[in-house]
Amino acid sequence: MALLEIENLSVTFGALRAVDGLDLSIDEGEVLGIVGESGSGKSVTMLAVMGLIGFPGIVKANAVRFNGAELMHLDRRARRNMTGKDIAMIFQEPMTSLNPCFTVGFQITETLKVHEGGSRSARRARALELLAQVGIPDPERRLNSFPHQLSGGMNQRVMIAMAISCRPQLLIADEPTTALDVTIQAQILQLLLGLQREYGMALVLITHDMGVVAETAQRVSVMYAGQLVEERAAAELFASPSHPYTHALLGALPERGRDRARLPTIPGVVPGLYDRPPGCLFNPRCTSARPDCAERVPPLETTHQGRVRCFYPLQASKTGV
């Protein structure tokens, strides 16, 4: 059974459809990569799962099931009891994601206190254990540090410690390495994957970086303008992308573009509020678009390999980039 199942999720901010009829599922212990350009709705989707979309955002869905429980029907309190405990999330900016007025120790033990209770000393011991586990040297001292006294990488480790403190079944990492030095990025990714295996938790990794996905994810969902456009096992997707958008994203990968003078980028931008094209949302930027792509909206087709939203998916033979 899937751990998290999302059916027909939409998130709107006024007239803007940030997420548009999204279906997504993730199994226990799985690593799912979510990729897509800026503004394609990756963060908003996961914030909706966390129940963190506030005014003026409106979340609608046929179902958001976690462990079989329908999240959309839970009252706020029951939902909160799950947030941060069974489903946890870490963010892009470690330096600003921790509260500057409280010590690292306070912020970690607070999560434990809210969800697990226990004695003060037990919480402290667990916090020490967590800090050691995420690779923070001298945890005793770090417990009393404030976020501004630590580096970005260290703060992200603290965020991770906080997120895994209640042994969640699902960890959502929203571009966890984007704001970090290149040398630190790999360490943080290794840490996340190590913890994922150790705790047997499912991991959703949101990223712009196809290279990161290639190294970590078992399955990949590609989002474009709030919609899922392709979803497949990682290896297959990288070998032969079906959707022209995926193909273009892979073309933007540095290794593949090695011999070119400049990194290829996809011309144009993700459609926003006022420039949503008729038909397939990607058609104005698509190199393989045909006239009818601008007339009809392609449905999300399930094939034996996965799912793809395109009338004319690329054939395996055609895709040697």
Binding site: M50, L52, R80, N81, M82, T83, G84, K85, A88, M89, F91, E93, T96, S97, L98, N99, P100, C101, F102, E110, T111, V114, H115, F146, H148, Q149, M159, M162
Partner: protein, 336 residues
Amino acid sequence: MLRFVLTRLGILIPTFIGVTLLTFAMIRLIPGDPVELLVGERGLDPVRHAQLRAEMGLDRPLLEQYWHYISGVFQGDLGKSIVTKQPVVEEFFTLFPATVELSVCAMLFAVALGIPAGILAAARRGSVFDHSVMGAALTGYSMPIFWWGLLLIILFSGILGWTPVSGRISLLYFFEPVTGFMLIDSWLSGEPGAFTSAVRHLILPTVVLGTIPLAVIARQTRSAMLEVLHEDYVRTARAKGLAPLRVIGLHALRNALIPVITVIGLQVGVLFSGAVLTETIFSWPGIGKWIIDSIHRRDYPSVQGGILLIATTVIIVNLLVDLLYGLINPRIRHQR
């Protein structure tokens, strides 16, 4: 930290000189001299007048008078009142507790109402509550103290008869001051009803004096909260599954308080200037009323000394506020 305190104390000296110069010059710019006002309307023959002026040292060149005054100040001598012949410092500290009592109550009133109102307005941004609070704050801020005081007196003392019009306590009660703070003294006196009477006398002046700080604090709290509520760490706090009360009341508020504390510190000066008017309206026997009376009598030493001591108090309070600021904001604490 020590260096910080020392530099701040160092600012005291130029401020001192500035304040003494200003008050010295301004009080002398007002027409009339102490002798005329002491004698009254009947007038005095010019010879006797000149003699009295000479006794007070007012016949000396201004520069010499100032030098005499300022050298006294640096020896801790603020001179004697021309009217009562009492040392200015002594008079000041007899009346000071009344002003402190009023100011502290006004500030507590402003903080106790302003911070929660600002938080709620921010949390329910755009609601009827938000608009009412901000409208009331704007009105309160622009309301002239005199007018506002009279309005409240007419309503609560005149029409409703709930509160007394003037003074610190009913004339029925008499006891020796112990601390100078009427709330404490009336409590200590053990006389039945004394404490209640003191409280009833305090209510209107407190509200009148606290209105402007209340408006400023409410607005500042709201805007600081609104800013902070968009911060990433507030999202993190929500992502931890914390209850909204804890997210807003602890994680957001702690950060929002940093600018609010600064504003509270700045309001101390506003409070003292407001006290002058408020004390006059309510015949509150404090420093504000004393300075006004001294100006009317051209009691130069009292005016100069009183304003200098008030300025010193404001500077010291602001220094304390800055220290508090460091305590609440760890980023500052570790810098120095």
